[in-house]
Every structure is written in structure tokens, then in C-alpha cells.
Amino acid sequence: MISNLPIYLIALPLFGSAVLLLGGRKTDRWGHIFATLMSAASFGVGAYLLTIMLSKSNSERAITQKLFEWISVGTFKVNAGLLLDQLSICFVLLITGVGTLIHIYSIAYMSHDHDRRRFFAYLNFFIAAMLLLVLGDSYLNLYVGWEGVGLASYLLIGFWNQKPTYATAAKKAFIANRVGDMGLSLAIMIAFATLGTVSFAGVKEHVGQASTGALTAIGIMLLVAATGKSAQFPLQAWLGDAMAGPTPVSALIHAATMVTAGVYLITRSNFIFDAAPTAQLAVAIIGAITLLFGAVIGMAKDDIKKALAASTMSQIGYMILGAGLGPAGYAFAIMHLLTHGFFKAGMFLGAGSVMHGMNDEVNMRRYGGLRKFMPITFATFGLGYLAIIGVPPFAGFYSKDKIIEVAFNTGGIKGITLGSAALLGAAITAFYMTRVVILTFAGAKRWDEKAHPHESPFLMWGPMVLLALGSVSSGFLFTHGDALRNWLAPVVEPVAVHEAEVLSPAIVSILALVLVAIGVGLAIVKYLLSDVPEVAPKDVTVFTRIARRDLLQDQFNEAVFMRPGQALTRGLLTADRSVIDGAVRAIARMAVGSGNILRTTQTGFVRSYAMWIVLGAIGLVAAIWMVTL
């Protein structure tokens, strides 16, 4: 039975994780291979399910699997069930496909780590949780996966928790995510309160009964959830620090999959946002702000992973913007998500490969001229680079230009503002990505005497090559004959009528390419044609300084949330100790005191026990008499 298969997608990696965690040291020798096989098997199941879905007509492709009745309290009934439809299969294949490649990569990357088995256990656990997130058939099931990936992310960011800063980074990510999670749980509660159901199908069915106000509230809360998980403004501060985790983790979780969960959530909830225009506009605005925010930070980062992280933030901004543009944008948001999954994961693996060859150095100012020493890494990274800046015919060109085009086509001031922001973002992206490539692979050698750059082993470059192939071809494949749009049509219901074209696709592409060329040119002038100092120059403008400090996001959080929060906590602690504890202690003393008095009735003499029975009997009879009188 086909409808019994989806659970295996989740069960296989979950089993792998359980075996590795419970098996302990005994599984050290083969644990990493086992975990990789579990992930690959899950991919196999996903691919098989895709072939089945392809063989059916588009409206009959969704597969639902009811697992068991999970919660049944009064009218609140939730089934644990899975929903594999056109949207979730995209994610399933991305998660298991890229996930398996990254498992393979990690076998080599983590080969010197004592705790490689634990690493693979967490990776497998992440795959299972992420699959549950995209396969759950209700908001509550999604929430379980949502929390699961949060936990996996926390464990993996802090994987090297012997370094206190890494442990702090993990905690920071966790706390920022908790703020978002609060939004998700509130959204679920509001949905249940107004609609009486939390399943996707149920909410979609009853969405017409709710007031716009309630739907806007749900939408805003879902957006809060998305900003936490997807590192969007204003909850974006954790992603840069999350790069403390091993690089494969950054590639898988903090670039390709988990951070895109917010986009999934919004796209999945399209029926809510389509009925709540205010919330939808908020989504688009958050996306536009973040895509610029991340791009600006990206320009100032010297740490290769942090530069890529800023880029991730910015690219997810594009996706959120796309998702915020309504039915016209969902498919392109998902398309950009998938293409980004390929090229950004590929570039992160490339960065890992560079670090692998450079004694874990991350400062790009200490790189330079590496293309001769790492030709394959350079080639794959370069293809990813061409994809992200949107050079035709690479993947990013198709997906990003479409989002820009749709943004313009929403019309009015809204369309011009959002479209311009997206265009500007494209130019900045071109600048900072060119900067990364030049600083790393071109120019003069600036590295340490001790570094001996070399190409990485096959297990590492193999996955990079496959991902590079994806960055080259996926955009064309998805747009050819509107393949992905038609595929997703039953889930996101695109508008049949084309909206007024403000700018034609050709003009958008030309505009974008011109801006990208300017960005690339500026970067070449600044970093290739002039010397790059090994230490970041100090005499820079105030803007650069602010950008280097992540646009003061941490300072803002500390001043507005952390310090007042700490003061409040201290105040509450004092109140708790004096007032509440005092009252509790007094009650406890009373309880102990009365216990000590009452226990004296237990004399140990059977005659007195019998007397109690007699007294009890007299009391009982008397009481019954009194009641009846």
C-alpha cells in the first residue's frame, strides 16, 4: 500500500539516530555508514513515492497516512497523520537528497573527530525531525517536527561545546527560536479557538468562517514563527553565530533545509495569508527588509562562513518576499528555496573544503589564490557563485528574477518598493559574493606559512560536484514548461488570470543583469585590482563599522531585551523569595506540623485502633441520621 509508505521516510533516519545514540561506543566503527545508509534509504523511499505521484493525475497525487489518534480531549481531536503532497515531496527530496550528500561529505570531514558517531546520530535525528515538519498533516504535527529541528540545530551548533563561545552560540540560536516557536503555538491556539481544528485540510476548509481579524492574527503569529526559524528580521541575530557548528551542519541545517522551514510554513498556510492581506503584506515587507539586511552584513564579513550565513539570510529574505506576494509568488519562493538548497549547500561544503585544507582558518583575508590548489572546490564553488548572483542559465537566474518580476507586477507603490529592494539586493549580492570568491580563490596568497592547502578527498568533493550540477541545471528544469508551478498548482492554487505586467520579464532580466554586472565590477575593482590587507582596515566609514557589527543587531537585542529582561528577572526573584517562598514555607510548616500532630493517633495499640473504628461507626451513624433529619 502506497499510503503506508510515508512513515518510513521518517522512521528510517529516526531508527538510525536511535541505534547510534543507544548503541553507544559499540557503533563507533560503523555508525557513520549506517546513518548515511538510513538517510539514503529515506531518499530512496522519497524517490519511489515521487515516481508514484508522477504516474497519477495532478489532482490525485496527495497521499495521506493516518497513524493514530494522538489527542482526544473533548472537541479537540488531533490525529497523528502524514500528508505527502506536491509541496512536501519537494522538501522530502531536498532534505533527504542534500542530506545524504552531506552525510557522505561528513564521513570524511568529521573523520578526525572523536565524537563522529554522535554527530551522525544528530544528523539523522535532524533529517527525521525535518521530514516530520514537512510531512505532518496538521499544525500540531508540524510543531513537533519544528521543535525537533530546533533541538537538532541546538545540539549541532553546540557540537563542539567544549568551547564556551560555541555553547553560547547554540543557546542564542535556541532562545531566538523559542521566541518564534511561541508565535507558532499562539497561531495554533488562535486557529483552534476560531476554527476548531488545527489540521491543514480542516483550516483550509473552514477558513471562510473566521473573521479577517482572527486570520490576520494567525498570519502574523505564523510570520513570527517563520522569522525565528528562518532567521528573518527581527529574529535574525542567531544565524551568524550558528556557524560555530561543524560546516556540514551549516550547509544542511543553516543553509539548505531547516532555515527554510519558515518559507514552507507560510507557503503551506497560503489559504490563511490569501484571506488576510495585511499579514501577507507584513510577510513581504519582512522579506524585503531581511534580504537587504543580510546583503549589507554580507559585504562586511571576513569570516567565509559568516559571509555565507549573511547571504543565506538575504536569500531566504527573497523566498519570504516571494511567499508574501501571494498566489503569484508561492511557486517561485519554493523554486528559489530548492535552487538555493543546491547552490548554498554546495558553497558551504566548498567553504568546508577550503577550511579543511587551511587548518580550519575561516578568515578570507588569510586566503587568496587558492584556485590552483583546490581546482575542484574552486569549480564547484564558482558554479554556485554564478547561480546565486543570477547569471543565466544558472539556477538562481530563473528563481530570483521571477521573484523580482512578480514583486514589480503587484503594482503600485508596493510593487515598486518591493521590486526595487529585491533588485538592489541582487546588486549587493553580486558584490559580496564576488568579494568572497576573489578573496578566497583569486589574488595573491596571504596565508600562513604553516598552511598547506590541498584538495579534499573524493568523499568530500563528490557531493560538491553533485550539488554544483544541481546549481547549474535545476533552475532550467524547474521553469521549463512551468514544470514546478504546474506541479505545485493543487497546493497553492495560482491565479489563473495574469496580473497586469508592470515590467516585462525581459526588462527585469536586463535590469537585474546590469545591476549584477555593476556589483561584480565594483568588487573586482576593490578586491582584485587592488591589494587586500591581511588585517581588516580600521580607518573605515561608520557604515562599514556598523555593518561589521551585524548592523548592531546584538547591541539592540542586549539593550532592549536582555538588560531589561535581566532586571525584571532579578526583581521577580526577589519577590519570589520573600513573598511566594515565604508563603509556601509557612504552609509547608503548617502541613508538617499537622502531620506530626495527627500521627500521634497511631499508637500501635490494637485496642485504640478498634476504638477508632467504634468512634467512626458512631460518627457515621450520627452523620447519616443528621443528614436525613
Binding site: G595, V606, L620
Partner: protein, 506 residues
């Protein structure tokens, strides 16, 4: 004078009880004729086999409910089948604990401290009369909640009580304490049985019938002498309240729980509660249901006193077994809430609570049997300090059982308390729910205090260790743990089964 007609017994419905009685008789024969060497293993297999066979029979007749057997004196309905199933499950776990003969005296007839006792210990022989005694008690417990008239009820009460009196006195260590507790239990039990019988006589005087159906009709008709009815209710209640250990008829509980061999305490605490509350639910829900104006206020008062007394005095205890005894008194109070609710939800909730509480009790006492020093079990709470560091397995399990007693979510105790409180709330009895929740909060204090002692206090170096459990003990405690957690996390299948099955024949 009418001719004597042969009673129609409906053996197939009585099979669970008959099987257990048969097993007990075989056990007696084995005691008499089998050689000492093969007795322990033979008795153990007979006992387990009997209990499992009986459980299978209960499962077989689960759908043939709402029938009477033995000329209407035994009711086979959903409630009795569920109670019997619970008793048998608990008995299986209890026997797994009893199988560790380390707890029982080598020769029960020898005087404590006598040369005879020394010889019997040195010879390494072990009497095995505990098994048939257990089976006789189980048979009584199966009949008690199914009894459909006062005579059968009394016979069942004695059938379950007499073996228990003996079993309480069989402890290997601290024999005087054990024998003292057995004697106390017997004297007070006999005393309360007299009340019970007196009450039965009054009810017969009131209604002219000993069957529950007859009493029910008389109550509905309302033509009898009310004084007889009220006296009957009061005295009958005393007998039942004594068995469940409700205040002020609880005084035997701490002494007997402490004195009896721990496996017997476990079995007695868990299975007796199920049987006694099963019977109580039947009487109050069927025979006396329409007189609820008379008994409900009094029973409410008793429930409140019982919950508060048990919780408060448990705080002052320094001995694990005595603490668990007071905890069982408090739980009797919680269960009375279910009796008072007098609705279908109350019946369902009480049955779930009984099963959950019984299994957890077996588990908790099972862990107590494992904590020992050279002289036997250590029950002084002070010496449990730091157990979590020395034996995380036992301490974690015990902590889980305590959390279940306290009613913490994710354990069966929470679901039990929640459903029983909501049933009472539904019936409009809000005051008792408030007292129930408050006493749960008080009770949580002493449960969690034990967890604190085990995990957060430094170990004392006085030779207190956790012995490696035998396979059967391990089976009992881990099964109890699994059931406790399972019922807490996935209560729906069991709750649904109870809801669809639990019916009382009227």
C-alpha cells in the same frame, strides 16, 4: 415446602474464579505430597499458569457481559470483568515479587528466636505455602467485585481476607513485627467484618432480600423502615471502608504495610484496593444508588478526611513503607471521589484509576524490596539518600512511580486523577474536587521529597545497597514502569476499552 431445585451455576462464566480456586487446591496438594525440592518451582509454575489461564478466561467472556451466574448471586458484567482482569494482572506482577523467597520465613510455625527457627534457616529449606494462600486470596478478590448479593459478598470478603492475615505474618526478618501486624490485621478485620455482617442483616431487614437487585427495588419503592436502611448503609460501609483503608477505619494500614513482607504488602495494597473498590462501586451504584441522599454527604466527608489525613500524615513519615501506606490511604480518598460521583464517568475513571494505581503500587514496593543491607530491607528514608547515584536504574524507576502517585502528567497517575476529578466535577460536586486537588498538592510534597533525597542528597556509607533483582522481580518492576508510562502517554486505547466495557448490571 417447595422442592429443592438444582442451582444453575453457569460454570463458563465462573471459570476465572474456579480456575484460581482449582490452582489453589493443587497448590495445597503439592504442599502435602510433593518433595521439598521440586515444590518451589512447581508452585511457581502452577500459580503463574493458573493466573494466566484465568486471565485468558476473563478475556474470553469480556463480551458476554450483563449476565448473572450462580442463580443471580454473581454478576458478570463489564465492571466485574474489568475488576477481575485488573486483579489478575496485578496478581501476576505481585506473584513475580513474591517469588523472591528471600522475604519469607523458612518455617512459619517456628517461634521467633527459637532453635527450631535457626535450624530451619540453616537447612536452607523454604516453605512455599505462600503460593496457594495467594491464589485463595485472588479467588476471593475475583468474587468480591462480582458479588451480586450480600451473602456472596460476605463469603468473598472472608475468602480474600483470611489468607491475607496469614500472609502478613510470614516475614523472614523482624518476625515479631510481622506477626504483630498479622494479629492486628486479623483482630481489626474480624471486628469490621462483624460490622459488615450487622449491616447486611439490617439491609435484609429493610428490604427482605439479600440480593442487590432486591435492595434496589426496596429503596426505589421506599416502603421499608428507614432506620434499618440507614443503619444498614452505615455498618456495611464500615466493613468496606475498613478494607480500603479510609479514615477513621485506616489505623491498621501503616502497621500492616510495614510489618508484612514487602511483596505481600505490594500484592495486598494493589489487589485488595481493586477488589474492595470494585465491590463498593457495585453496591453504591446499584443497590444503594437511589438512596444517595442518605449516604453521599457522609461519604463525601469521609473522602475529604481520608485525603487530607493521608496526605498530611505521610509528610511526617520517616519510613518508606509507612509513607507508602499513608499514601495509599490518601489514594483511597481519591478513589472515594469516584464512588461518590455516581455517574458513568465516575465508574470508568475509578476503574482506570484502580488499574493504574495498582500497577504503580506493585512497582513501587518492588523497588523497595531491592534496597537492602546485610540484615534485610532498608526502609528508613534517611538511608535512601544518594540512591540515585549508586543505583540510577532503581532510583529512576522509583522516581517514576512516585511521580505517578503524585499525578504528574505523562504518568498513569495524572490521567487517573484527571478523569476521576472531572467525573466528580461533572456530577456537580465541586467542593470535593477542590479538596482533591489541594491534597494532591500536599501529597506531591512528600513524593518529591523522596526523589530529592534519592537524587540530590549525598549517599550515606552504611552498606545500603540495591541488590541485583531476580529475573521475575525485574519483570515486575519494569512491566509496572512500562504500564505506568504507557497509560500516561497513550491512555486512549485503555480508556476507550474501559468506557465501552464498563457497565453495571442493575
Amino acid at each position: 415446602m417447595s422442592a429443592f431445585t438444582t442451582p444453575i451455576l453457569n460454570y463458563s462464566l465462573l471459570l476465572p474464579i474456579l480456575i484460581v480456586l482449582g490452582g489453589a487446591l493443587i497448590g495445597v496438594m503439592l504442599e502435602a505430597f510433593a518433595s521439598r525440592k521440586i515444590r518451589p518451582i512447581a508452585q511457581l509454575s502452577i500459580t503463574f499458569g493458573t493466573l494466566i489461564l484465568a486471565l485468558v478466561q476473563v478475556w474470553r467472556i469480556r463480551h458476554q457481559s450483563s449476565l448473572t451466574a450462580a442463580m443471580g448471586s454473581v454478576a458478570i458484567d463489564g465492571a466485574s470483568i474489568l475488576a477481575q482482569g485488573s486483579v489478575l494482572l496485578i496478581a501476576i506482577l505481585g506473584v513475580a515479587l513474591i517469588a523472591d523467597q528471600e522475604h519469607f520465613t523458612a518455617l512459619a510455625a517456628s517461634l521467633p528466636g527459637s532453635s527450631e527457627e535457626r535450624e530451619s534457616i540453616q537447612s536452607g529449606e523454604q516453605l512455599t505455602e505462600i503460593y496457594p494462600l495467594t491464589l485463595f486470596a485472588v479467588a476471593g478478590m475475583l468474587l468480591f467485585p462480582a458479588s451480586n448479593d450480600l451473602i456472596t459478598l460476605f463469603v468473598a470478603l472472608e475468602m480474600l481476607s483470611l489468607p491475607l492475615y496469614l500472609m502478613a505474618g510470614l516475614s523472614r526478618r523482624r518476625r515479631l513485627l510481622s506477626q504483630e501486624s498479622a494479629l492486628k490485621y486479623f483482630l481489626l478485620g474480624a471486628f469490621s467484618s462483624a460490622f459488615f455482617l450487622f449491616g447486611a442483616a439490617y439491609l435484609y431487614g429493610y428490604s427482605g432480600s439479600v440480593s442487590f437487585a432486591g435492595i434496589r427495588e426496596a429503596v426505589i419503592g421506599g416502603s421499608g423502615n428507614d432506620v434499618f436502611l440507614l443503619m444498614g448503609i452505615a455498618f456495611l460501609s464500615i466493613g468496606l471502608l475498613f478494607k480500603v483503608g479510609a479514615v477513621p477505619f485506616h489505623a491498621w494500614t501503616p502497621d500492616v504495610y510495614q510489618g508484612a513482607p514487602t511483596p505481600v504488602t505490594a500484592f495486598m495494597a494493589a489487589a485488595t484496593k481493586v477488589a474492595a473498590f470494585g465491590a463498593m462501586l457495585r453496591i453504591f451504584y446499584t443497590a444503594l444508588a437511589n438512596a444517595y441522599w442518605d449516604w453521599r454527604p457522609v461519604m463525601t466527608t469521609i473522602a475529604i478526611i481520608t485525603m487530607l489525613f493521608g496526605s498530611f500524615v505521610a509528610i511526617a513519615q520517616r519510613d518508606v513503607k509507612r509513607m507508602l501506606a499513608y499514601s495509599s490511604i490518601a489514594h483511597a480518598g481519591f478513589l472515594l471521589i469516584g464512588v461518590i460521583a455516581l455517574n458513568k464517568a465516575g465508574l470508568d475513571a475509578s476503574i482506570f484509576y484502580l488499574l493504574a494505581y495498582g500497577v504503580t503500587t506493585i512497582g513501587a514496593f518492588g523497588v523497595v524490596t531491592l534496597v537492602r543491607d546485610s540484615t534485610g530491607e532498608v526502609t528508613d528514608l534517611k538511608r535512601w539518600a544518594g540512591l540515585g547515584k549508586r543505583s540510577p536504574f532503581a532510583a529512576t524507576l522509583f522516581a517514576a512511580f512516585l511521580l505517578a502517585f503524585a499525578g504528574i502528567p505523562m504518568t498513569s497517575g495524572f490521567i487517573g486523577k484527571f478523569s476521576i476529578f472531572s467525573a466528580a466535577y461533572e456530577s456537580g460536586n465541586h467542593a470535593i474536587v477542590i479538596v482533591g486537588v489541594l491534597s494532591s498538592a500536599i501529597a506531591a510534597y512528600f513524593y518529591i521529597r523522596v526523589i530529592v533525597v534519592m537524587f540530590f542528597n549525598d549517599p550515606v556509607e552504611d552498606g545500603t545497597t540495591v541488590v541485583i533483582p531476580s529475573i521475575l522481580t525485574r519483570f515486575a518492576v519494569t512491566t509496572a514502569f512500562a504500564v505506568t508510562i504507557f497509560l500516561g502517554v497513550f491512555p486512549a486505547p485503555v480508556l476507550n476499552f474501559i468506557t465501552s466495557t464498563a457497565l453495571l448490571l442493575r
